[in-house]
Amino acid sequence: MSKKQIKTTVNGVEHEILVDSTWTLLETLRDQLKLTGTKEGCSNGNCGACTVMVDGQSSCSCLVLAPEANGREITTVEGLADHGHLSPVQDAFVENSGLQCGFCTPGFMIATTALLNDNPHPTENEIRLKLAGNLCRCTGYDKIVRSVQDAAERLNKA
């Protein structure tokens, strides 16, 4: 096992850190940078609880090695709010009750933010398809889909 010096930007802040070759990005975010908003679920890419953006693209941080983040821009759920003001996606999840226990929510909000960046006017089918990599065991998904539709409206008005 070896350590690697990497430089990575997380939520706009540049970090120069030493990471173990075998750590995942998820472990580095949670255990080293103490950004515990990103959750560990299945740890094999099925559940989406650990979804972050890598250079703007939604990715399972459990399937990214920490040294792969060298030179990349990472966005976690902590990076969505702007100076204490929730993002339109976060507001939409709160106001539409798009969560119950909340464990899957950081992943859903990152996935939603990435989806709406790519496609500002998704249909319900597109929302359900593009968020299929995020599992929720509480809501039955309907309120999440409504939250995403509302978030799209908020962003399109803004």
Partner: protein, 287 residues
Amino acid sequence: MPNFDYEAPTSLMSALELLAQPGENRPLAGGTDVIDQLKSNRRNADLVVDLKRIPELLNIESNGSGLHVGSAVSCTEVHNFTTEKGGFAALAESTELVGSVHIQNRGSVGGNVCNAAPSADTIPSLLIHEAVAHTASASGEREIPLIDFFAGPGQTVLEKGEILKELVLPTPSANTASAYLRFIPRNEMDIAVAGVGSLIEVDPSTNLVTKARIALASVAPTPVRAYAAEEFLEGTKIDADAIDKTADLAVGSAVPITDVRGSAEYRKELIRVLTRRTLTICLERLA
């Protein structure tokens, strides 16, 4: 996770030198299969060589010799490129079916090929489009027709230190259409119970099929071509009866197992239905 070192070389030559060293050296593209396999001790590594800093492996382009897909190009990029350029509908369709969006954003088509799962969604599309695997190692390069690339579940003919460099797909003629369908019990995010890719080239003046390619997923230890079905269809005037006969013949190329995803009998029936449906879609696309 096993203890391994990590390197991210920026040239193909230095990657090949690293991979040629003694030990278990594992190339990494998107990592969506490899990292999970390392975590669960299904594959081992002393050294992981990240290929995503090597420009030529990240290149996708179409030129006079066809569509070139570097081995580290993500499914998302292949989907967007083929959707925009056209000509490879089956590949555009299958790259949108691999795992979730998050997996497609990182996982590469080359990695889907090298992982060599019999159920891999992109492989039938690549086979019907007659992809050739261009490989490289410290001792030279090879060109391997993709149908000869697979040795068994999770096994390829790549030798130690040899990697897939790119996949090259010849540009299809204007009278060609392709389609890929798979069956899963839900709408998304699952592994194919069975999958079928079909490609036909039809002479518009005679309506005769001049080329037929049919490839099957999840019904044999490796992805397979349905040669008997292809031979029957070539030279035939394509209509509903010909499609039914072709679908029956495709079933003969399936040698599935019974497992948790479906029985062998069920998988054979799926091959019949999916062959019929993909050929029907091809006809609609040619109309």
